[in-house]
């Protein structure tokens, strides 16, 4: 239900004076099936603030949008009156190469950031797992890829952030230096918050030098225990992998791929060592295998169910085994891929999988992940599946999270209902 009703006109004119670019929403602007009334495209942080103040004055429910590539992630919002589209905040504001930092607006495609910093032989060590993804969307969904084994995720790279709160107040935290412990680290709260706490408008990241050389060593496996043994061989050695990926497509044999980066002489030696660790079937290649840094659902037809499983490293075999047997028992199939060396795997179930079958897989896999100190989240799913499964599963400290949400967004106007526990 929309709060708009009769005063859509008033809301529109308030928004229009806040930011020149306001339009009626079309079907293409629907947020996971929820139709908003308006789309505003502010072009600066102050404009975002004005827009959110106007939205607050008119009680509008707001959903922030980067390029809309992951807008179906999370639960559908309970209501969405206004989409705040950040695609006009698309500038790389500053690249201080000597300080290894970059500052970008939230709507900037990650690819643009990478292009800018690459000119100085640097990179933002966040994998663009989905084409077109923006800085803000990547932060809000805490998207990550293979390089998390080597350098971590957004939480390890974000050093400063500018947000606009639901009430239109602009706030900054962190700063432009890598080392800084002044004040609360609000950036951490925003990462993975799915647009429910505040709208990100600018972000500062630390950068890493681009490696001179890279090589990927890949070895096949056919049993989950074998996958775990291979991963442990590598992480327990001293080869300093940048990525340790596990790929186990439905039905087929699996592979473990290890990315080694650094200077040529070093990578060569570590490649040889890694081949030994991974056994006689291991092969080295200058390029990563197909599907690298892509989610397992990326190439399937329709809207597959997208799962994210996390676990302590020693749980890898059990997670792999349970996923496959649970899918088979439920009469469906699951593609698995992810950072086996970090305790993260993504799973894809076919778009036409029966909702009950998906629910059964989710339940069994969740139990195993939880026992292994992790969790299972349903990132995305077709509507009938989304309705039948518990998206987030049990979340510890939910009450404390609710209190945080209440303080930041007491009127529940930012993407209400998208997040854990209906936040």
């Amino acid at each position: 239900m929309t709060a708009l009703g009769t005063d859509l006109g008033a809301a529109r004119s308030a928004l229009t004076s806040a930011c020149g670019d306001v339009a009626d929403a079309t079907e293409a602007d629907a947020v996971d099936g929820v139709q908003p009334a308006l789309v505003a495209r502010p072009a600066s942080t102050p404009e975002v603030a004005e827009v959110l103040r106007a939205a607050a004055a008119h009680g509008l429910a707001v959903v922030p949008r980067g390029r809309g590539t992951k807008l179906t992630w999370g639960r559908p919002p309970e209501r969405a009156d206004l989409v705040v589209d950040l695609s006009r905040l698309a500038a790389v504001l500053d690249h201080a190469a000597g300080d290894l930092i970059v500052e970008a607006q939230a709507g900037t495609p990650l690819a643009d950031v990478q292009r800018t910093v690459a000119a100085a032989g640097q990179r933002l060590a966040l994998d663009g797992t989905v084409e077109g993804a923006t800085v803000g969307g990547t932060l809000a969904t805490n998207a990550s890829g293979p390089s998390r084994v080597g350098v971590g995720t957004a939480r390890d790279l974000l050093i400063g952030v500018t947000v606009v709160r639901a009430d239109g107040v602009v706030a900054r935290a962190g700063g432009r230096v890598v080392k800084n412990v002044a004040g609360y680290d609000l950036g951490k709260l925003v990462i993975g918050s799915f647009g429910t706490l505040a709208v990100v408008t600018e972000a500062v990241f630390r950068l890493h030098p681009l490696p001179a050389a890279r090589r990927v060593v890949t070895a096949p496996f056919d049993r989950p225990e074998e996958a775990q043994r291979l991963v442990q061989q590598v992480v327990q050695a001293q080869v300093v992998p940048s990525a340790v990926e596990v790929d186990w497509p439905a039905g087929g044999p699996g592979s473990v791929s290890v990315l080694l980066e650094g200077i040529e002489a070093g990578v060569e030696g570590r490649t040889a060592t890694t081949r030994q660790l991974l056994g006689p079937d291991a092969a080295a290649s200058p390029d990563p295998p197909a599907g690298w840094a892509r989610y397992p659902w990326a190439d399937g037809p329709g809207r597959p169910t997208a799962l994210k499983a996390t676990f302590a490293l020693s749980g890898l075999a059990r997670v792999l085994a349970t996923a496959r047997s649970a899918a088979a028992d439920a009469g469906t199939a699951i593609d698995l891929r992810g950072s086996g060396g970090a305790g993260v795997l993504y799973g894809a179930l076919p778009a036409d999988a029966d909702a009950a079958a998906v629910a059964a897989v989710v339940e069994r896999l969740r139990a195993v992940c939880t026992r292994a100190g992790g969790a299972l989240v349903v990132l995305d799913a077709p509507p009938q599946v989304e309705a039948a499964v518990d998206t987030w599963g049990p979340v510890p400290a939910l009450d404390l999270m609710r209190r945080v949400k209440e303080r930041f967004d007491p009127e529940r106007r930012l993407a209400p209902g998208r997040f854990v526990g209906g936040l």
Partner: protein, 519 residues
Amino acid sequence: MGGTHGTETTAGPVLGPVSPEETGATGEAGGNPEAMAAVTRAVRAVLPANAVVSDRIELRTYECDGLAHYRVTPALVVLPQTTEQLAAVVRACAEHGVPFVARGSGTGLSGGALPRADGVLVVTSRMRTIHEIRPADQRAVVDPGVLNLDVTHAATPTGYYYAPDPSSQQICSIGGNLAENSGGAHCLKYGFTTNHVLGAEFVTPQGEVVQLGGLAPDAPGYDLLGAVVGSEGTLGIATRAVVKLTRLPQEVRTLLAGFASTDDAGAATSAIIGAGIVPAAIEMMDALAIEAAEAATHCDYPAGAGAVLVVELDGPAVEVEHEFAQVERTCREHGAFALRVATDATERALIWKGRKSAFAAVGRISPDYIVQDGVIPRTALPGVLRAIAELSASSGVRVANVFHAGDGNLHPLVLFDDAVEGAGKAAEEVSGAILDLCIGSGGSITGEHGVGIDKAAYMPKMFSDEDLDTMQLVRCAFDPDGIANPGKVFPTPRLCGEVPGKKRGAPHPLVAAGKAEAF
């Protein structure tokens, strides 16, 4: 740990616009006798007799942390042994509106663990169990009072260590590290505490026990742990931590290079980083710091050096060897006139000895000093160092510079003799001016020592009212009654009030009296 730091020699205060005493940040002794008596009764009912300290003389031994200039005698000290006991103490505080302050080893340098005269000091030194070392998962699960270095000692036989290494690592606690988001010389490459804590058991200011994060990464929901790390005990108390263990590197090599000036050493630092090398550490000391270290430890640093760099590389042997040669070359190209290389642990310890003892060593050349902690963008180093030299020259206050050059974290040591009239004040002014330089260059007022009580007054120089208000939203979510380490980190006491939209009743008496802002 044998005095590697100026904790006994007064690490003096930085003058802020308002002194902590005036803000009431540490409370008044005997402020609320009935509440305190009720808490004491409740605490005695759940803790063994020897875990509750209420004797005045004994209480005084807890009056300060590593920043000995500030001293406040707590109303009560408790030393719980279990999470349940600790939570019971906090619940009693919550019920009676009594503030509490967490303390680990009390080595903090910003007065974060300074007691409240009207509150309870909760000391974790009896919670020192290392519960699990899990090499296959690259994790350890430890109590909050466990000493930083003990985690590494426990993990080393399995080929792992705990990467964050504050210089105080022999005595500081994991809980204190978590609360301060502590760094160390090697955080240039490996990151800070926040990058190495995956989970915590946590007691909220209401006394609830909650799990934040866990063994696995990316726990669903808001990253509350990320907000708790670095919150200096103002959001609650960590009673257990899940930390990441890092594989020991194959090779470690350390270089000591002497330069004519800090400008040369700074240029070498920039060139090393600019070449795409990420050393484990790059530390710099200037002539005065070298003089002090030499006097204290006879570390045999190059004679006549205006600056020395300690550069450490670690990782796979081939890379280390290759990049080490590059570092040596770069140092020479930038005027290094003396190079010393350590390839084994003994030689390495010798090089680090001078650096690690630098703070305490300054006691040899000055009766009193202030340890400052500010951050600048690395490229601003030469300019800021020159500005510090000018400040020193114009004020006549000597400043020794020791710092983590790789990430621009300065530790200027501002020297003075408290016996000389006005010297303390002059030193404080220089120390404050250095912070202004850091802020002015786009840096931070603290890189690792925290805000505590010492720098709360500086927060408005770095953050706007809106920024601070927004941080306060987090505070209010966790601690609406403001009993968790109140008076630290934030300059003005603020009351949380009801969640907006649910406001009711008359204003709080403090608001009515204009002593606090409602929030």
